[in-house]
C-alpha cells in the first residue's frame, strides 16, 4: 500500500511572494514619503544670535577672540574680592597703601565707609563756606575728584563683574586658558573682538536700504575697498554687481559714508566687502 501522493497545494511561488513584499514596501515608502499628498512648505525662520559681551571694538586688547574658557568659578570669585575696591577710593585721602590690610576693618559695608570721609570733610567745609568762596571751590573740587574716583571705581567693578560673568579675565595678566577677551595681535586697551568685526559693524551701520526698495531677497554684491594708512578711502570697485540698481546704489552710498575711517590703521587696508540681504527681516 502506497501512501497517496501529497496533494499539491495551490501555494504562490516564492518569487511572487517576494514581488508582493517588495510592492508593499514600495507602497508604504511612497505613502510615508508624502509624494502623493502635497506638502506645504515650511518657512524656515532664521535664528539670530546676539553676543552682547563680545562686542567688536576698534582697538582690541591682547587676548583671545573667544575670551578663553569660561567655566571657572574662581576667576568669577576673585573679582568679588576686588569688591573692596571702594576702599581705595576712601583711602587716597589718608593712606594709599591701605589695601594690604584687610580691606574693610572698619565696617563690613564698603559703601558706608565712603560717606564717612565725606562727612568729616564736610564739617570743616561749612565754616569755610561762609568766609570765602575760594574754600568752597576747593571743597567742590575735592568732592568732584572723589565722585570721579568713585565713578571710575564703579566702572572697574562693573567691568570685572561682566568679565566674571563671561568667564573673561580683564586683568590682562593671565594667559592661556584664562586669556582675556581680545585679539592675539591686539595692542589696544578695549575689551572686545577684532578690527575686522568692527569694520563689519561699521559698514552695516552706514548701509541704508529699505526692504521696499528691492523686489528680491537674494541680492548680493561684492565691493573691493582700499584704505590708506591714515584711514582714507583710496579706491573702491564692484567685484560683483547684484544687478539691482537700487541695491548697488545703496552700497555706493555706504562706501562713500565710510570714506574716512575713524582711526588710522597704520598700514594700507584692502578687503572685499560682501553685501547681501540674508538677515533682512520681512
Amino acid at each position: 500500500m502506497t501512501t497517496p501522493p501529497f496533494p499539491s497545494r495551490n501555494e504562490p511561488r516564492l518569487s511572487s511572494l517576494l514581488g508582493i513584499s517588495l510592492a508593499m514596501h514600495i507602497v508604504v515608502f511612497v505613502l510615508f514619503s508624502g509624494v502623493l499628498f502635497g506638502t506645504s512648505p515650511v518657512e524656515r525662520r532664521p535664528v539670530y544670535f546676539v553676543d552682547l559681551s563680545k562686542m567688536p571694538v576698534l582697538n582690541p586688547q591682547a587676548g583671545r577672540p573667544d575670551g578663553g574658557p569660561a567655566p571657572k568659578a574662581k576667576p568669577a570669585a576673585k573679582p568679588k574680592t576686588a569688591a573692596p575696591t571702594p576702599q581705595p577710593v576712601a583711602q587716597p585721602a589718608s593712606k594709599p597703601e591701605a589695601s594690604k590690610p584687610k580691606p574693610t576693618p572698619v565696617d563690613n559695608k564698603p559703601a558706608v565707609t565712603q560717606p564717612t570721609p565725606v562727612k568729616t570733610s564736610s564739617k570743616p567745609a561749612e565754616p569755610a563756606s561762609k568766609p570765602a568762596e575760594a574754600g568752597q571751590s576747593v571743597q567742590d573740587k575735592i568732592a568732584a575728584m572723589r565722585q570721579n574716583q568713585q565713578r571710575q571705581q564703579e566702572l572697574a567693578d562693573l567691568k570685572s563683574k561682566i568679565a566674571a560673568l563671561s568667564g573673561d579675565d580683564t586683568s590682562g595678566k593671565s594667559y592661556g586658558s584664562g586669556a582675556p577677551l581680545g585679539m592675539p595681535d591686539g595692542s589696544g586697551d578695549e575689551i572686545g573682538v577684532d578690527q575686522q568685526t568692527w569694520l563689519q559693524a561699521f559698514y552695516k551701520e552706514n548701509w541704508s536700504l529699505s526692504k521696499y526698495q528691492v523686489a528680491r531677497r537674494d541680492l548680493q554684491a561684492t565691493v573691493h575697498v582700499s584704505y590708506s594708512a591714515d584711514g582714507t578711502l583710496t579706491n573702491y570697485r564692484f567685484v560683483e554687481s547684484s544687478g539691482d540698481a537700487n541695491f548697488d546704489d545703496s552700497l555706493k552710498k555706504a562706501i562713500l559714508k565710510t570714506k574716512v575711517l575713524p582711526f588710522k590703521p597704520g598700514r594700507t587696508l584692502q578687503f572685499d566687502v560682501v553685501f547681501n540681504l540674508k538677515d533682512l527681516m520681512d
Partner: protein, 430 residues
C-alpha cells in the same frame, strides 16, 4: 627634482599673493532712508504759511505711509533749511550730512494772481547732487495734489517705481441714508459724492485710464451694472439682465468687463464688451461663481466658487479653460484681488466670525495672513503700484476705509467718520 622645483616656486610665490580679508554684511543697519523734508519757502512776494504747511504735511504723510523713509525732526534743521536752494550749488550739503540725512526735499512757492506755482527739488545728500525736480502750476486748491504728485516722483526716484499717492479711491458710503458712490484722495481728503441713486450702490471699479467707474446699482429694482464718466458725470446702464449683474471688473487692457450674472438662475462669470454687449460665458457650473479679478496680463481670472462645498478661491485660465483651486485652508474665502505685479492674490477669510485679509501666490503656495486683531477687514483692493492695499473694516466701530502696506504694516483709516464706508477701489491713474 622637477616636483621639488615646482613646490619651491609655489612657496616663493606665496608671499607675493596678498591675503585679502573678506567682510560679509548680511543686512543693512538702517532699513529706512533718512530724509530731511523741509518746509517750502516763498519764491517771491509774501509768504503764505498755510500753503507751505499743507504742502509739508501732505508730503510728510505720504513719506510716512510709504514705509521707506525716516523723517528727520525739523527742529534739528540748521540754517540751510531757511535758505531757498533749488540747485545743488545753493545747498549746504555739509549741514544735512551732519544731521545724517541721505536725501533732502526743498522747494518754493509763488502766487501769480490767483495761480499757485510750486517748485519741488529732491537732492541726494551723499552724492551731493540734484536727483529730480518738478514745477507745478495750479490753483491754491490744488496744493494737496501737487504734494501727492511730487511724493510719487520721490518714490520713483528712490525705488524706480512711481508712487500711488496722486491716484484716487472710489468707495461706497451711506452718510446720506443711502449707499452712494464716493471718490476721495488716497489720504482720505477731498471726498466727493458721485451718485444720487437713493438706492443701493455697490462694487465700484475703475477703468484702466481712470476716467470711468463701473458699479452695480439697485435703482431700477434689479442689481444692474452702470458706468459713470468722471469727467462729464454721464451715466449709462451697461448690463441689466434679469437677476444679478454684480462684481464687475475691467480687463487690464480696458476692452472687456468680467462680471457675475444670474440670468439662468445660477450666478456665473460672464464677459461683456465695454458697451455692454454679451461676449461669452466664462463659467458653467452648478456652484456659485462670483467676484472675478483679472490677472495683470488679462489671461486669467481669480474668482470665488462653492463648487467644492465651501466658498474658495479659484483661478480660471481663459486660454485653456482649466480651473484650479488655490485656497486650501479655511472654510470661507472670498473677494480675491490680483496684484498689479501678478505675483500675489489678496483675499479675505472668515474665521471665528471675523474676516481677515490674506495673500497667496497664484499657484496656491506661500499663503500669508496680513491682518489680525478685532473687527472685520474686507474687500481688499491693490494700489496701482502694488505697494498698498485698501479695504473696509469695522475695527473701530463703524465701517471705514483703511489702507496698509502690502506686507500688512502701517494700517491707517483714511475715510471720515460719520458714515458706513465699504467696497473701496483704487484707480490706476488720476
Amino acid at each position: 627634482m622637477r616636483r621639488f622645483a615646482t613646490l619651491l616656486f609655489a612657496l616663493l610665490c606665496l608671499p607675493a599673493t596678498s591675503v585679502m580679508a573678506q567682510i560679509e554684511v548680511r543686512a543693512p543697519g538702517q532699513q529706512t532712508i533718512a530724509v530731511a523734508n523741509t518746509e517750502l519757502l516763498p519764491l517771491s512776494g509774501f509768504p503764505s504759511p498755510a500753503i507751505a504747511r499743507e504742502l509739508h504735511e501732505v508730503m510728510s504723510y505720504d513719506l510716512d505711509m510709504s514705509g521707506l523713509f525716516r523723517q528727520l525732526d525739523p527742529a534739528s534743521f540748521l540754517g540751510d533749511a531757511k535758505r531757498l536752494g533749488l540747485t545743488s550749488t545753493q545747498v549746504d550739503f555739509n549741514q544735512w550730512s551732519l544731521l545724517g540725512s541721505e536725501i533732502l526735499i526743498k522747494g518754493g512757492y509763488r502766487m501769480q494772481g490767483d495761480r499757485l506755482l510750486v517748485e519741488f527739488r529732491l537732492f541726494d545728500v551723499i552724492h551731493r547732487q540734484l536727483l529730480t525736480g518738478r514745477s507745478y502750476s495750479g490753483y491754491p486748491g490744488d496744493v494737496r495734489t501737487m504734494a501727492h504728485k511730487f511724493a510719487d516722483v520721490i518714490l520713483k526716484s528712490v525705488t524706480g517705481k512711481e508712487g500711488p499717492f496722486s491716484s484716487r479711491i472710489a468707495y461706497i458710503d451711506n452718510r446720506t441714508g443711502h449707499k452712494e458712490l464716493y471718490l476721495m484722495d488716497t489720504d482720505g481728503a477731498n471726498s466727493l459724492r458721485l451718485t444720487d441713486h437713493r438706492s443701493i450702490v455697490l462694487n465700484p471699479d475703475f477703468s484702466p485710464n481712470g476716467r470711468e467707474v463701473i458699479f452695480t446699482s439697485y435703482r431700477p429694482g434689479n442689481p444692474d451694472l452702470y458706468r459713470k464718466y468722471l469727467g462729464t458725470g454721464q451715466e449709462a446702464r451697461l448690463s441689466f439682465k434679469k437677476g444679478l449683474n454684480i462684481s464687475a471688473r475691467f480687463k487690464p487692457d480696458g476692452r472687456e468687463i468680467a462680471l457675475t450674472q444670474s440670468e439662468s438662475g445660477n450666478p456665473e462669470l460672464v464677459l461683456l464688451g465695454t458697451d455692454g454687449s454679451q461676449r461669452r460665458r466664462l463659467t458653467n457650473h452648478w456652484g456659485i461663481d462670483v467676484d472675478p479679478s483679472w490677472s495683470p496680463a488679462g489671461d486669467k481670472l481669480a474668482f470665488v466658487s462653492d463648487r467644492q462645498g465651501n466658498p474658495h478661491i479659484f483661478v480660471l485660465d481663459l486660454l485653456s479653460g482649466q480651473t484650479k483651486r488655490i485656497s486650501n485652508n479655511g472654510k470661507y474665502n472670498a473677494t480675491p484681488a490680483w496684484s498689479p505685479d501678478g505675483d500675489r492674490i489678496a483675499f479675505t477669510r472668515l474665521e471665528g466670525n471675523v474676516f481677515d485679509i490674506y495673500t497667496i501666490r497664484p499657484d496656491g503656495t506661500d499663503e500669508r495672513r496680513l491682518t489680525f486683531g478685532p473687527g472685520n477687514k474686507e474687500h481688499p483692493r491693490w494700489s496701482p503700484d502694488g505697494r498698498f492695499l485698501v479695504f473696509s473694516s469695522d475695527q473701530d466701530g463703524g465701517k471705514g476705509i483703511y489702507i496698509m502696506r502690502a506686507d500688512g504694516t502701517g494700517m491707517q483709516r483714511i475715510s471720515a467718520t460719520g458714515g458706513q464706508s465699504q467696497h473701496p477701489a483704487w484707480s490706476r491713474q488720476r
